[in-house]
């Protein structure tokens, strides 16, 4: 592993996010503090409406906090940028471009200034091969399955060689089998690229299987970080072996305890 691990590669300090709504101000996040080391895989977990995606949007720079500051590599996150790639929940591929063109758009943006066209194309081909989609490169998103679309989304994010990979419930809309397959692929890819990953999820197994650190959030409004659980399971991880390991079950139990005992979700009736 890297010997000079920066323990605060991403540093979230006292972040508060208040949305102005028609019914008055709505405080989504309050007093959020988190440090993420370089190369760490962090899962954000919590009930729906707890501000996980709000926090991810802040990290992506798509929104700005009303209070506090977010740092990435000691620089304030001022807006979105290709060094923090996002994989969106609904893949967000452009339907009029082929898979290749969707990825190429990102590759071109990041590397066109320094590399030749042939090199850009080779990069695109390589990253599509990495997610196993070489055969579908010339297809449009409408012609491939949901799992494949999400893989193109991941390929697009990875193609930019981002410092940080932000995943917003990337497998939420997929069936269980496809999801497991993509999780395994993601584990493999992250192991190879050593990226820093922050992933929003509400799947306990996914969080334990993939992450080094599970950030559990309290219920909104005014959600904050309730607890941070370090997952010390050896890598590479194998879902079949893990299913029986006591460590895995311990972490799983810890997350479930937090979510369903201490933060039992009370669904508020709103019109």
């Amino acid at each position: 592993m890297n010997t000079t691990v920066n323990p605060q590669y991403i540093d979230i300090q006292g972040v508060e996010q208040v949305f102005r709504t028609k019914k008055g101000p709505f405080c989504a996040l309050q007093n959020v503090n988190l440090k993420v080391a370089k190369g760490e895989f962090v899962a954000l977990i919590g009930h729906s409406g707890c501000g996980k995606s709000t926090l991810l949007n802040l990290l992506a720079g798509l929104t700005q906090p009303t209070q506090g500051v977010l740092l990435c590599a000691n620089r304030e996150i001022g807006g979105p940028g290709p060094e923090r790639a996002v994989v969106f929940q609904n893949h967000s591929l452009l339907p009029w471009l082929t898979c290749f063109e969707n990825v190429y758009l990102a590759v071109e943006r990041v590397f066109a200034a320094t590399e030749s066209k042939a090199r850009l194309k080779a990069r695109t081909d390589a990253v599509l091969a990495m997610v196993g989609l070489s055969a579908a490169a010339q297809k449009r998103p409408g012609e491939i399955s949901g799992g494949m679309k999400q893989r193109v989304g991941i390929a697009r994010a990875l193609s930019m060689e981002p410092k940080v990979l932000l995943l917003d419930e990337p497998f939420g809309a997929l069936d269980a089998l496809t999801r497991a397959k993509l999780q395994d692929e993601l584990l493999q890819i992250v192991a190879n690229t050593q990226s820093t990953v922050i992933m929003v999820t509400h799947d306990v197994d996914e969080a334990v299987l993939l992450s080094d650190k599970i950030v559990m959030m309290t219920n909104g409004p005014s959600a904050t970080i309730g607890e941070v659980l370090s997952v010390d399971l050896p890598r590479p991880r194998n879902r079949v072996e893990l299913a029986e390991s006591t460590g895995y079950l311990y972490y799983r139990k810890a997350v479930i305890d937090f979510l369903y005992t201490r933060q039992a979700h009370v669904e508020k009736i709103t019109a």
Partner: protein, 313 residues
């Protein structure tokens, strides 16, 4: 439950059983029945009902439109007889059409030209007026869609102008351009521009936020945003605008040409009315209809070719 007792003897056998059992036996029996019955049924269907349906399907598609046309011909014939042939019969009109279309591109002076020239010069006016409307309307639509300020500024104006019949603008055109031809083009321009502006603006306003987020995360240049995201996602809306505009333009050109004169299908109708040549008027009506249909069909094909599935959540 109790009511089951009063059912016919055949039904009481399964229904007399208790609720859970009954439904269980029912479903099992039902399944077994379905499994054993289905293949036979399918075979029967395949053997008896399928082949005739295969034959009738294309017939059913061709027959109703043919019947419709036949009905039109019959009504027409009746009207023709009732008016003592002052409305010419379908047969006479058809014979006249054969004569007319055997030489569509003759020229005997400015007021006596073949039907082909008339249609072409009308199409040329529509193309010019419409083309100008597209050149002005699409960028204006983009601006109005992109900036709320402009949208608030121009919406009242558009609402005020849009319901006005484009022919009301014809005198203004004649006054300003001092010529029949540019005035007709001006009228087409006015009637085509509203659907272009409105549909483009709506398209821009409805670009999914997801795509814009992608643009922001990838940090795309303004040029890439316009060419790779805005333009393709607005294109289907724009083509709807184009279709509406061309449809209206084709309606308006006939009326405009009747007023302005010169060469054109609208003028031709009026000219044949002055000649009291009703056969040619009826032929002109068909020509106008067929050309309009072809324009519409082409644009619908074009629109479907550029429509892509949206991101669904």
């Amino acid at each position: 439950m109790v009511s089951a007792v009063f059912h016919s003897p055949r039904e009481t056998v399964p229904q007399a059983a208790s609720g859970a059992e009954r439904s269980a036996t029912h479903s099992i029996a039902g399944n077994a029945g379905a499994i054993s019955a289905k293949p036979e049924k399918h075979l029967k269907n395949a053997a008896t009902t399928r082949p005739p349906r295969d034959f009738s399907a294309p017939w059913m598609r061709v027959l109703p439109p043919l019947l419709g046309l036949a009905l039109l011909a019959v009504l027409w014939e009746v009207v023709s007889i009732a008016t003592k042939a002052s409305i010419p019969s379908p047969k006479d009109t058809f014979l006249q059409a054969v004569v007319l279309f055997s030489d569509p591109f003759y020229r005997n002076g400015p007021n006596d030209q073949g039907v082909g020239w008339n249609v072409l010069s009308s199409l040329k006016r529509v193309a010019m007026g419409f083309g100008l409307a597209a050149i002005v309307g699409i960028p204006v639509g983009f601006l109005i869609g992109r900036f709320t300020f402009l949208s608030h500024m121009f919406n009242p104006l558009i609402s005020l102008m849009r319901p006005v019949s484009p022919l009301a603008w014809l005198p203004i055109g004649l006054l300003v351009f001092k010529g029949a031809d540019p005035a007709a083009i001006w009228t087409i321009f006015i009637c085509s521009i509203w659907p272009m502006i409105i549909n483009t603006a709506v398209g821009v306003q409805r670009v999914p936020q997801d795509y814009m987020n992608v643009a922001r995360v990838l940090n795309l240049s303004e040029w890439k945003i316009v060419t790779k995201i805005l333009f393709p996602s607005v294109l289907p809306y724009m083509l709807t605008g184009v279709r509406l505009a061309v449809g209206t333009a084709w309606l308006v050109i006939v009326a405009a040409e009747m007023l302005t004169g010169g060469v054109g299908i609208g003028f031709w109708v009026w000219d044949e009315w002055n000649n009291l040549n009703v056969k040619n008027i009826i032929i002109a009506i068909f020509v106008i209809g067929i050309v309009g249909l072809m324009l519409e069909y082409t644009l619908i094909k074009l629109a479907t070719a550029f429509t892509f599935e949206e991101v669904k959540n």
